[in-house]
């Protein structure tokens, strides 16, 4: 039975054996770590469907006795009183996260390709700058960034939420690391001899061979765009994203304790959906199959 849980190893006839005891140890380890990771999340989901008196019951219970959607209804009702309709916030969030993720994955990969596979002047310097920039904390660069954004008169526009994250070096570094080994130089050479342009090589050869990398990058990028509140750049209520309004709902003290767990769960849903779509399309026959 346990055998089915493991994927088939390459068509090899030679098999590395695994003892029953070893399998058991691995499962025990994964179950313990998995429980440690999952239980707090499960607890916050349970908190969000507890009625008011159970949240403050003594002694506290992990599980819920009378599950209710009251907290979610409360969030919905609180949203009805907003000056700007909820659908507007939803649109803002999905628009920024969707466009931002799409554009970032493309420009980061475009930059990573020459940095990992071409030779040209200033290549090493640019690569080093990209890694070093990851180590400089953005908390103090905010002032300069704000001045630049306001000079470009992008305060109170979507641009202020889109452009600064698009400059992040994280994705370029990730794609660079994958492209280094996943794309054999011989394949690039062959394509060049056949007369393919670098742009064609990038879209037709480089990108398909690092699919696991950009599928993963989609998760990270969507997540960071989705969680952004636009706090110092957006003052126009109709341009604000969902997290900003939901966090103001949840900061209403004890009376909103249930609502705030509901908010946390609601905000968790879109990243999880993106995560599942991305991870489940990461099939096994990848990378090298098309290139041999």
């Amino acid at each position: 039975m346990a055998l089915k849980l493991f994927r088939k190893r390459a068509k090899s006839k030679v098999k590395l054996s695994r003892s029953f005891g070893g399998t058991l140890m691995i499962f025990l380890f994964l179950i313990i770590v998995g429980a440690f990771m999952a239980l707090p999340i499960v607890y916050s989901v349970i908190q969000s469907i507890k009625p008011f008196d159970e949240i403050f019951a003594y002694p506290p219970k992990f599980f819920v006795k009378r599950p209710t959607f009251d907290n979610y209804i409360q969030v919905y009702l609180l949203c009805q009183n907003l000056w700007v309709p909820l659908s507007r916030y939803l649109f803002n969030s999905f628009f920024i996260a969707g466009v931002g993720t799409f554009v970032y994955v493309i420009i980061a990969s475009m930059a990573a390709f020459p940095l990992s596979k071409h030779k040209f002047p200033a290549k090493t310097a640019i690569s080093l700058l990209i890694i070093w920039a990851l180590l400089f904390r953005p908390e103090v660069t905010g002032v300069a960034q704000y001045m630049i954004i306001s000079k470009l008169s992008m305060i109170d526009t979507y641009w202020s939420m889109l452009l600064p994250p698009l400059a992040g070096t994280f994705g370029v570094f990730l794609m660079m690391q994958f492209m280094q080994t996943a794309i054999p130089d011989s394949v690039l050479e062959a394509a060049r001899i056949d007369g393919a342009s670098e742009y064609k090589i990038f879209f037709r050869i480089a990108m398909p061979s690092v699919k696991p990398a950009w599928l993963t990058l989609i998760i990270f990028t969507f997540q960071s765009f989705w969680n952004a509140t636009g706090v110092s750049y957006i003052y126009d209520e109709s341009l604000k994203p969902l997290p900003s309004v939901l966090s103001s709902i949840s900061s209403g003290g004890l009376a909103r304790a249930g609502a705030s767990s509901a908010v946390a769960v609601i905000l968790l849903v879109p990243p999880i959906v993106i995560f599942i779509i991305s991870q489940s399309s990461m099939t096994e026959t990848m990378a090298h199959t098309g290139l041999k």
């Binding site: 030679v14 103090v140 990243p271």
Partner: protein, 306 residues
């Protein structure tokens, strides 16, 4: 002498090199433009500000190395924050890095659906920006906290423990929460890296006499995973030394007796509350320096392994 001259004659002139690589620059251009405007210029201006006294109202005033001298000689809390940061980073960084790699390795053997379900569970704590607030319920200091009430029920303690404010406990609580969140970007990169491995090597290795999975991991997998291991290391370093947000959310800001105070929180204190941007920038430069030194050391270590 002669040889050098000959070599020069064959070398392609710089202009020509740049022209030949025009496709590379065009591919780089969109990112590089944004990177320069929104990252490089702000970082350079922060480094310049670290040599000034700047309160965001008046013009910055040049003060030389005063900010740096003040840090080590006058600011006791900085020394404490530095010590805490190093303790947090040295414990959580390696644990998180190794845990990420080991779990990604074990998960890689699973079948498709089972694998991404496990990845989801392991990555879930990092999925939402601030879900760690739930730990304040679990470790709440009154008898209504989940941990306190269970311990009282079991008869281990009589009075609730102030997990979050007592400085002999709150460091451990924060460590637990940070390790809970440590399967982050490095972990997903490892999962994707394992997935992209060239399977034909394993077959060859099995024929060549690799006896068990540990040998396979050490001789075949790790050398192929070099780039991902480097990526994970950078992310671990930048995460481990920039510890602070979870500390503040769980134990308060500032924490009692500054017991969980870190360099990042010290920086936020001066940058966003006291508006001493010059000093805050100097703190950022010091933090950057620590991370850079660690990065160079780890890079050397990793290149020895793979």
């Amino acid at each position: 002498m002669r040889l050098a001259k000959k070599k020069d004659a064959y070398a392609i002139p710089m202009k020509k090199q740049i022209w030949n690589a025009r496709a590379s620059y065009i591919l780089l251009a969109p990112f590089l433009l944004l990177f320069t405007v929104f990252i490089v210029i702000p970082i350079i201006s922060s480094i310049v500000l670290s040599f000034t006294s700047f309160n965001m109202l008046q013009m910055p005033k040049f003060v030389g190395f005063d900010n740096y001298i003040r840090m080590f000689l006058e600011d006791d809390i900085f020394v404490k924050a530095l010590k805490n940061t190093l303790v947090f980073a040295l414990i959580t960084g390696p644990i998180g890095y190794i845990l990420s790699f080991v779990i990604a390795w074990l998960i890689n053997e699973m079948n498709h659906v089972f694998r991404w379900l496990l990845v989801l569970i392991m990555y879930a704590p990092t999925l939402s920006g601030n879900i760690y607030y739930i730990w304040t319920f679990i470790f709440s200091g009154d008898s209504k906290g989940l941990v306190n009430s269970s311990l009282i029920k079991m008869g281990i303690i009589n009075d609730p423990i102030q997990w979050l404010t007592d400085s002999s406990y709150n460091v451990s609580v924060v460590l637990v929460v940070i390790i809970w969140m440590s399967l982050g970007s490095g972990f997903l990169a490892f999962v994707a890296g394992f997935n992209a491995l060239d399977r034909s090597y394993f077959e060859a290795a099995a024929i060549d006499g690799v006896r068990n999975r540990f040998e396979e991991l050490w001789y075949i997998t790790i050398p192929q995973m070099g780039p991902q291991l480097l990526f994970g290391a950078v992310m671990s370093i930048s995460g481990a030394f920039a510890v602070g947000y979870a500390n503040a959310a769980i134990t308060g800001f500032p924490s009692s007796n500054y017991s969980t105070h870190t360099l990042l929180l010290h920086m936020l204190d001066y940058g966003t509350i006291r508006f001493e941007m010059g000093y805050a920038s100097a703190l950022a430069v010091v933090l950057f320096g620590i991370m850079l030194v660690t990065w160079i050391a780890i890079k050397k270590l990793l290149s020895k392994i793979s």
